[in-house]
């Protein structure tokens, strides 16, 4: 009898393992079909030759990457020089997305803190209020923003009415307008993770810090921020990454000279003028960039955790 027990136990474990494999299938399928396949497709396309009316010719080519980084082509007769146009667009995109992230953090953190410190019953209402604007389509919101920021728009009217300015300040079609647009597009992605972290925070720790002669500012910097750091990091990633690839805000609010990666890529796939391999290559470069930034982030995170222990 006793000899039989382990065997039947093993059989059960096997059954569970099998069941687990099958039950996990949908998750794997979704990941494979919706996530890995498109990336793989993009990777393949970026190494093909462009067809002039859009689409691709199935011939292996490095032309797309060549065009991205070098002015006359790396394999031409004349020596190639680095092409700064696209790298410049990338650089501006990083800068714009970074600025939008900082802006979101500056506004989002106090907002999240405010919500998390309301009475428990009131918190869902505040969270709900934060999400309300996002029921409206992003395009419509961005277009309305354009009207708000115009030289003769409500914002300038208001500032002139209050006497703060004498003539309209030019906001639309500037970098700042794009940053504002990105900030407005993704603010809840900053607020919500930070809110979740602050809500879990044990406020007795702040009392303990105050009890040990720490001012409010020191308590914020040395006790609260380290405790809610995962929420802040998540918020920053969730704002930075989509901002980086965004094209609506830069197109509508930034005008032609404030072009970002998203617009560049979008253009390659739109209409007959496009260049699919080039768009795919730019996407791959963007993807690699984001991956590198994320890996650096997590590495640094793990390091600081380890250093403490």
């Amino acid at each position: 009898m006793t000899g039989g027990a382990p065997n039947s136990g093993g059989a059960t474990t096997d059954t569970y393992a099998k069941a687990r494999t099958w039950l996990l299938m949908p998750a794997w399928l979704v990941l494979l079909v919706l996530s890995l396949t498109p990336v793989a497709l993009m990777l393949v396309y970026s190494f093909l030759t462009k067809e002039f009316r859009g689409g691709v010719i199935w011939d292996f080519s490095l032309a797309a990457y060549d065009q991205f980084f070098f002015d006359r082509g790396l394999f031409g007769d004349e020596p190639a020089r680095i092409e700064w146009t696209y790298i410049g667009i990338f650089w501006r995109s990083i800068w714009q997305a970074g600025a939008a992230t900082v802006l979101s953090l500056l506004i989002g953190f106090p907002t999240a803190y405010f919500i998390a410190t309301r009475p428990e019953k009131a918190r869902p209402i505040w969270v709900f209020l934060v999400t309300i604007p996002y029921w409206v389509n992003l395009l419509i919101r961005t277009v309305s923003m354009k009207f708000l920021l115009r030289d003769q728009g409500p914002l300038n009217d208001f500032l002139m009415f209050t006497g703060l300015i004498d003539s309209p300040i030019h906001i639309i079609n500037t970098n700042f307008a794009v940053q504002l647009g990105l900030f407005y597009s993704y603010l809840p992605f900053m607020v919500l993770p930070i809110y979740a972290a602050v809500e879990r925070y044990n406020f007795t720790l702040s009392e303990a810090a105050a009890d040990l002669y720490a001012s409010k500012w020191v308590t914020l910097r040395r006790i609260l921020l380290p405790a809610v750091k995962p929420g802040v990091v998540a918020g920053c990633i969730l704002v930075f990454v989509p901002s980086l690839g965004s094209f609506l805000a830069p197109d509508l609010l930034g005008g032609a000279k404030n072009f970002m990666i998203g617009s560049l890529i979008e253009e390659q796939f739109k209409g007959n003028a496009g260049n699919w391999p080039f768009g795919a290559a730019a996407s791959m470069i963007l993807l690699t960039l984001v991956l590198i930034i994320l890996i650096m982030f997590t590495r640094q995170q793990a390091k600081s955790n380890k250093a403490g222990g």
Partner: protein
């Protein structure tokens, strides 16, 4: 008056704490002496933690004043009050090492990082945690975390240390050990300790003086022995220790003694208390260990009854006795007396006796 003033560490005068629809503290006044182990004792919701938090500065004072060594502190923020707190759940900073936790207060008071660490190291030595200095709080046991919290609060040498039920999360054995350790630490450091607890035994073990609170009011203030032996009112008698609490009516008062009778026609003499007159129906309290059982009446005040049950509780035996037509009494007999004293079995007819002065009348 002046020299008296100097030895008072904390002086609470007519302190009131009101929330929207609830008064947590009703005009409470008490003085806590320098270098004293003082305990605020009471059931949950009695206002003891509120008072402690008002002294720490986490709650503002609705009315009244709080003085710290003669200086009014009620308008100072917590970080400007030279008092430190040991929190109920320790509230150790999870992202800092044990050493950095303890050094935090010193650093905030202006010590350099190395000075603060040196001071923190000495403090850890005092609580015997030197070898854990570089661990994170989560890597320590509850008792160790408790000691870190203590070291952290003591490190900046506060004028008064506030302890908010710091032992409630520990198991019994560890709690007993920590009680003694706390008492020793208090003597060694000479810092005034204000200890909040709902555990009367803990309060009796550690305190120089105890303030018994209930419903936002001070019920009795005195030395541990005083409060145990001479409870002022029903609440205190009932809350502190085990007691026989019985309703009696007062027949006669003379020479500080009150002759009373209780149900079933039994008569006994209690210590009279000011404010209780002849004819009043009040409660009296007598501690079970102040009673003894005999087979025949010892004095004329022996109360006749029958043994209902014996309960063995280690050091003592607790005997329940039903008085003839009267109420029930609990009598405690020390196990060490077993040689001399007879243990009566359930059903035996016995007499309950008490020394003169063991029974006290209580105001409600």
């Amino acid at each position: 008056m002046v020299p008296e003033e100097q030895s008072i560490a904390i002086d609470v005068r007519d302190a009131v704490k009101r929330y929207d629809d609830f008064t947590a503290l009703k005009k409470l006044s008490l003085s806590i002496m320098d270098n004293e182990f003082f305990t605020l004792l009471g059931p949950s919701g009695c206002g003891k933690t509120t008072l402690l938090r008002m002294i720490a500065g986490f709650e503002n004072v609705t009315e009244g004043e709080i003085f710290l060594f003669g200086e009014e502190i009620k308008n100072l923020p917590p970080y400007q009050r030279p008092v430190n707190t040991v929190f109920q759940n320790y509230a150790l900073f999870p992202h800092m090492t044990v050493l950095d936790n303890v050094a935090f207060g010193l650093e905030m008071r202006g010590s350099s990082k190395s000075e603060a660490r040196k001071g923190a190291g000495e403090m850890l030595e005092l609580v015997q945690l030197t070898q854990f200095a570089n661990r994170k709080p989560s890597q320590l046991s509850g008792g160790q975390q408790q000691r870190v919290a203590l070291a952290r609060a003591l490190a900046p040498r506060p004028k008064v240390l506030l302890l908010d039920e710091p032992l409630s999360a520990l198991d019994l054995k560890l709690r007993k050990a920590m009680q003694l350790e706390l008492k020793h630490l208090q003597r060694e450091t000479g810092i005034t300790f204000i200890f909040v607890t709902h555990d009367q035994e803990e309060a009796l073990t550690m305190s120089d003086r105890i303030a018994v609170m209930s419903d936002g009011e001070l019920q009795q203030l005195g030395a541990a022995k005083d409060i145990y032996e001479r409870p002022r009112n029903m609440f205190v008698a009932d809350f502190i220790g085990e007691t026989n609490l019985l309703e009696v009516s007062v027949d006669k008062i003379a020479n500080g003694r009150a002759v009373c009778h209780l149900g079933g026609g039994h008569e006994l003499t209690c210590n009279s208390v000011e404010g209780i007159g002849v004819g009043s129906k009040v409660h009296m309290s007598v501690r079970p260990e102040r009673l003894f059982i005999s087979a025949t009446p010892v004095e004329n005040e022996s109360l006749k009854g029958r043994v209902k049950e014996n309960i063995f509780i280690g050091t003592d035996i607790s005997t329940l006795i039903n008085l003839v037509d009267g109420p029930e009494f609990i009598v405690r007999t020390s196990n060490s007396d077993r040689g001399n004293k007879r243990i009566f079995e359930p059903g035996n007819e016995v007499f309950v006796n008490m020394e003169m002065g063991a029974a006290r009348l209580l105001i409600d």
